[in-house]
Symmetry: C2
Subunit: 211 residues, 2 copies
């Protein structure tokens, strides 16, 4: 797979060794993430909105109720910023200064493009359900024309995008290595617990998550 | 505890029943979260930056290397937006349209104020370490004047702030309740695994995380 171009916006200045611009890394982080934080301008000031997202090929997709401020900002023609962050651990060094965080993140800049046609929206929204439980999109009650009209879907093409990662143990100053404090990593991960069935249903229905 | 005032920016328009403006709820979400996403203007466009954060009283604190674009944007005098999101679960309804997410989030707007004085910075940075492992700040090698000078610390006062939450099972249309698909919640939580000691240390040092 190829690399995304490095632009003035996506070039990492701080700790450039943590930057990655290749498709495989960017796709893997986006596919492992759950919630994106999208920055848009509302009344001239930045607003950061958390939202579900998903990837289809070289597009990141987000959806919103049609008439919200968020949807209006996304269709305004202004550049948006979308960031996905996976927190992998606290990094505890011998000095406070060298404490750090293990993480994988993707930062994407794009002018969102609204998907207008109902059939495309339907297909894309199915991909969001499939991302959560594969095979589920075909099982749920199909979307109505009214529901599709009430849902705005936006694509943010993967063009101006970078990944940033840190992993591994603390990087202490050599002179601190004998400082008498425990050093290491607390690994963190978003984990799923056993699915909780809605009580109002018969047993044995399909579309249940594997766990 | 009292409520934060509802302003034009913080008033929830979409699903206002999910909004909370009380101190206890806002504090609890901020104290349970790990990473904030901060929206700043860089060259006139929003950029969303993931960062560690912490709360001390009625301030949220973030830090940055002194000369980064992020630090310059935070000290520019422009309004920033800071969002903390805890993802609690995927909500699987009978229709795609009623699928949802269980979450707790806080959205804060403020013009960040830089903490200039080294002693205050030192004390505040200690509070970040204490948040990760209580008792650890006193054990690490103390910060040097050079390290404190290289670290910018900003306070964002909790004034214009709101919380938004969803919890519980799917809310399906009555007519969909017999649709033959499993419905319920997949609970999600950020969980810590056993701490991984840096191999370069003696056994039994203090400051180890409890897990």
């Amino acid at each position: 797979m190829s690399d995304y171009p490095v632009t003035a916006q996506t070039r990492l200045r701080r700790m450039p060794e943590r930057g990655q611009y290749d498709q495989a890394t960017v796709h893997a982080i986006l596919d492992a993430g759950t919630v994106a934080h999208v920055g848009v301008l509302i009344d001239g000031a930045p607003v950061v909105i958390p939202t579900a997202y998903w990837r289809v090929g070289e597009d990141v997709l987000v959806h919103a109720a049609r008439a919200t401020r968020f949807a209006r900002a996304l269709r305004s023609g202004q550049r948006a910023s979308l960031t996905v962050t996976l927190l992998d651990g606290w990094v505890l060094a011998r000095s406070g200064f060298n404490h750090s965080v293990n993480y994988r993140s993707v930062m994407l800049f794009a002018v969102p493009e609204e998907v207008e046609d109902a059939e495309s929206k339907n297909r894309l929204l199915d991909a969001l359900i499939e991302r959560i439980v594969p095979g589920r999109a075909a099982l749920v009650r199909p979307a109505t024309a009214k529901e599709l009209a009430a849902t705005a879907v936006f694509r943010l093409p993967l063009a101006e995008v970078s990944a940033k990662l840190r992993s591994g143990p603390p990087k202490d100053d050599e002179a601190d290595l004998d400082w008498p404090v425990w050093a290491g990593v607390i690994p963190l991960a978003l984990t799923a617990a056993a699915a909780q069935p809605d009580p109002r249903q018969s047993a044995g229905l399909p579309g249940r998550p594997p766990l």
